[in-house]
């Protein structure tokens, strides 16, 4: 079993010792392929305009902050809430809806009345009209002290910066 193996190994060695004939055009073909691959300098030259465009885009994004354009358009969305379990209807009435009792009806869930209003910067007076007859101030907001009409009102302020 070992002798047979030795013969096989010897045949392989003889085969490997034969001189190998190389294709004379191989070197030329390899060098042609290498020349086709862009050099690192050439790659950098191709990337430079792309990098410049990316830098300009990044600068525009950082300076202009398009994700905050909605806030910059100077409106805030505010939710007004009144807990009034016994009320049959509640409407929000104020400087932002011409004190029109029908424009901002509030929706209820288990006696918690709420509505959402979009407001531009400013100081607004408002009140809740309960059951169409009873004026109530917002217990969670500053009171309007200069009430000249004998019913309570509240104030809300929407700031113009950093709010």
């Amino acid at each position: 079993m070992f002798e047979q193996d030795d013969e096989t190994v010897e045949r392989v060695i003889q085969h490997l010792r034969r001189p190998m004939v190389m294709d004379p055009g191989l070197d030329a073909r390899v060098m042609r392929e290498i020349a086709r691959v862009p050099s690192p300098k050439r790659r950098a030259r191709l990337l430079l305009p792309l990098l410049a465009v990316a830098a300009v885009l990044a600068t525009v994004l950082i300076v202009a902050r398009p994700w905050s354009w909605n806030r910059a358009s100077k409106t805030d969305v505010l939710q007004f809430v009144l807990v009034a379990p016994q009320a049959a209807s509640v409407t929000l009435v104020g400087d932002f809806n011409d004190w029109d009792p029908v424009r901002s009806p509030m929706q209820t869930a288990h006696g918690v009345w709420a509505t959402v209003v979009r407001l531009a910067p400013g100081r607004y007076r408002y009140a809740f009209l309960v059951n169409g007859v009873e004026w109530r101030a917002d217990p969670s907001a500053p009171a309007a002290k200069d009430d000249e009409f004998g019913t309570p009102s509240s104030v809300v302020t929407v700031g113009g910066r950093g709010s």
Binding site: V93, D95, D98, W99, D100, P101, A120, P121, G122, R123, R125, W135, P142, A143, A144, K145, D146, E148, F149, G150, T151, S153, V155, T157, V158, G159, G160, R161, G162, S163
Partner: protein
């Protein structure tokens, strides 16, 4: 005759249709106030809103007219303190501050130490007074915070003072304590700024 009719039609057309909720006498008096305000360059929207508030709340015409006249006068005083460049929301907030007891000098000082808009600073001043804080303490606190505090900082300051008052703290003391505590956040612990409610020393903007 025709000319008079045309003039009347023009005047009616120029009127804000929202004012039709007022009775004719009240409406003509309010329109006169609005025209006067426009003539001197004052914003009129808040005056219209005050008239509409009165109408919706069922106030008498005399009360509505008195309210809009008073507001027009106060808007003029606010503009006198803040200057002609003040925006309408700033003037409306300034009216609230003046009615709360702030002096025109306080408003002018605020304009000098804080970059516009001043709406929130003026509102916080008025709201602090409405919470029971003495007007001079509220003014001093807002002036001390105004140079560097953001609008959100001012709102948080007001809320903190209101919470303390609700828990039983005397309004003036609550303002002083919160001012000194908040000064570290607003000005930075190592800035060396002095923020005393009784002796505000507003700093110029960097």
């Amino acid at each position: 005759m025709i000319l008079a009719a045309l003039l009347l039609v023009t005047q009616v057309a120029a009127q804000d249709p929202r004012l039709e909720r007022l009775d004719p006498d009240t409406r003509s008096a309010v329109v006169a106030v609005l025209d006067s305000a426009r003539d001197v360059g004052l914003p009129v929207e808040s005056i219209i809103q005050r008239a509409l508030e009165g109408a919706t709340k069922g106030a008498s015409g005399a009360r509505i007219v008195a309210a809009v006249r008073r507001l027009a006068v106060d808007l003029g005083a606010a503009r006198g303190a803040l200057g002609t460049s003040a925006a309408a929301p700033e003037l409306e907030a300034a009216v609230a501050a003046l009615r709360a007891g702030a002096t025109p000098e306080v408003l002018a000082h605020l304009r000098n130490v804080r970059r516009p808009p001043l709406t929130m600073a003026l509102s916080v001043l008025a709201d602090l007074v409405a919470s029971g804080v003495p007007a001079d303490s509220a003014a001093a606190a807002v002036l001390a915070l105004a140079p560097k505090a953001r609008d959100a900082d001012l709102v948080e300051f007001r809320r903190a003072v209101e919470r303390d008052i609700a828990l039983g703290a005397p309004p003036g003391a609550a303002t002083s304590v919160r001012l000194n505590a908040g000064a570290l956040d607003v000005y930075g612990a190592n800035s060396g700024a002095t923020n005393n409610a009784n002796n505000p020393r507003p700093r110029s903007r960097p």
